[in-house]
Symmetry: C2
Subunit: 299 residues, 2 copies
């Protein structure tokens, strides 16, 4: 990257690669609350949202750009700690923060993160590549972030020890290495990151690929809180886990880049999503995903 | 562009080209006022800010991304007209709107525009390339946008006929064709777009290039309002004209891509900016540029 501080940042895209661009808002009282979330975590999650989109294409992040609008009542200390969260995670992923814009807002905090990445030409893993009769996989465990949020909504935070259980909420991490592995081996036919919740994001794959899906409730890897798994509803519909959901006709190992990978069902020729319950009963599964605090719609 | 509606947009950068990325906030009551500016103009200026940054590097715009946060009190009609302004200008420049994000804001309207462009490898025109003893040029006329704003601040809008005089304010247009011409011929040693005002943006070139500047007040092409030129102060410090400011040791024609180009001074070995007044007196010129309504700082 050159040109930082110039009219534009100048980036070099590796030869034979295509460019990936993703942009995500992080808005106070929609995506976080100042009285609930440490500023470092807000910054960390802000960048994770962008990196996770790059991961879901099987891409490599090249650079990030942060636009930040803050109202005059927000302490500079908050902004400094927010930026520390962004920059620490950028360093973990070796992604330079190459520019952005700052402005004063009328109320609260609005951040827009842009992540630019690259992928070998024609190799981006789209949402539209799934075929009927393939297996459906997820990385990691689901519902942990939603469980933390549910707990916060009950206003029973319960101290830092308790929050260690909610690692996906308190320490979100984009699955870039898993996405890269799957893209390099051509293993995933379609992929998406779980930002809005399994049911909603699976619905995106089904719609774009013109397939249906059959999910086995018992197979869904649920996050543990203490020794108890989170409620199935949270694992099905809870957002902000930043795990990867993908389809494959190939043999998929149970661990990729150190991350557990679990088969949770299969694609079908039907236009519907179905859930095979723990009781063996089949239910219609609808996109009932995460609506954030006040509703958020991804374009 | 493919992948619209996927996790990322997928773009192809022409072979042998580098990537340009710029991001600019447009915030209600900072960059516009809903009671002053038509929504189409707000949208048009929002995209112009990004295109103008690409123009200032001598680049070609490839795609735009719009993130838009709107509070519940903003009528859908306003949003539709704002988007029309963005899309109409995008069509004029043949730049696809390739993605973005939408969210609900706590107060007012916040838009973040990202424009991605390309430039042949090593050919981006930076702010840092000026040498002492070169000539300084601007495109078009200066101060017209600031004059319109000054008039609005007096709360004497005066009807649409009056505003036809303020074409740079009511119809901002990025100088992409001029920037391309200058880059293709290697004519400009350093370049910036006039978004913050001549004195501030010239100071950026001086700082980055380690040169000084001597500007001739009489030579500055001032916008006309009716038959009268705008005040020199507005042409010197007024922002949002989106003209190009560049330095050159070569012969520069008086018109490039149909746009008048005017020599306004020269670079010097001094570390200062000087203004030679209409009275022949030499004054120290300081960056006294546009602060928008409430202050805005570009990173």
């Amino acid at each position: 990257v050159t040109g930082i501080g110039d009219d534009c940042a100048v980036l070099r895209v590796p030869p034979g690669h295509e460019l990936l661009v993703t942009t995500d808002f992080t808005i106070e009282n929609v995506h976080f609350r100042r009285d609930w979330h440490r500023p470092e975590l807000v910054g960390r999650r802000c960048l994770t949202r962008g990196l996770s989109d790059i991961a879901a294409m099987g891409g490599e992040p090249l650079a990030a750009f942060l636009s930040l609008a803050v109202s005059s009542d927000v302490p500079q200390k908050w902004v400094d700690r927010f930026l520390k969260g962004v920059l620490d995670l950028a360093a973990e992923f070796k992604v330079p923060l190459a520019g952005g814009d700052t402005a004063q807002s009328r109320a609260g905090i609005q951040a827009d993160i842009v992540v630019v990445g690259s992928v070998p030409k024609g190799k981006a893993v789209l949402r539209s590549g799934a075929n009927a009769g393939e297996q459906i996989y997820v990385t990691g465990e689901l519902g942990g972030s939603a469980a933390a949020l549910a707990r916060l909504m009950e206003l029973k935070p319960g101290g830092p020890e308790y929050f260690q259980h909610f690692s996906r909420h308190s320490h979100p991490f984009a699955r870039v290495a898993v996405g890269r592995w799957l893209r390099q081996r051509g293993v995933a036919s379609a992929m998406i990151d779980l930002s809005d919740g399994l049911s909603t994001d699976l619905d995106h794959i089904c719609q774009e690929s013109h397939v249906g899906a059959e999910i086995e409730a018992e197979a869904i890897p649920r996050a543990q809180v203490g020794k108890k798994p989170v409620a199935l509803e949270l694992a099905l519909h809870g957002g902000d886990d930043y795990e990867l959901l993908f389809t494959s006709a190939a043999t998929v190992p149970s661990k990729i880049a150190g991350v557990p990978v679990t088969r949770i069902g299969r694609t079908t020729q039907s236009a519907e999503m179905r859930l095979i319950g723990v009781d063996g009963k089949v239910r219609l599964l609808k996109a009932g995903g995460w609506e954030h605090f006040q509703g958020n719609q991804k374009s």
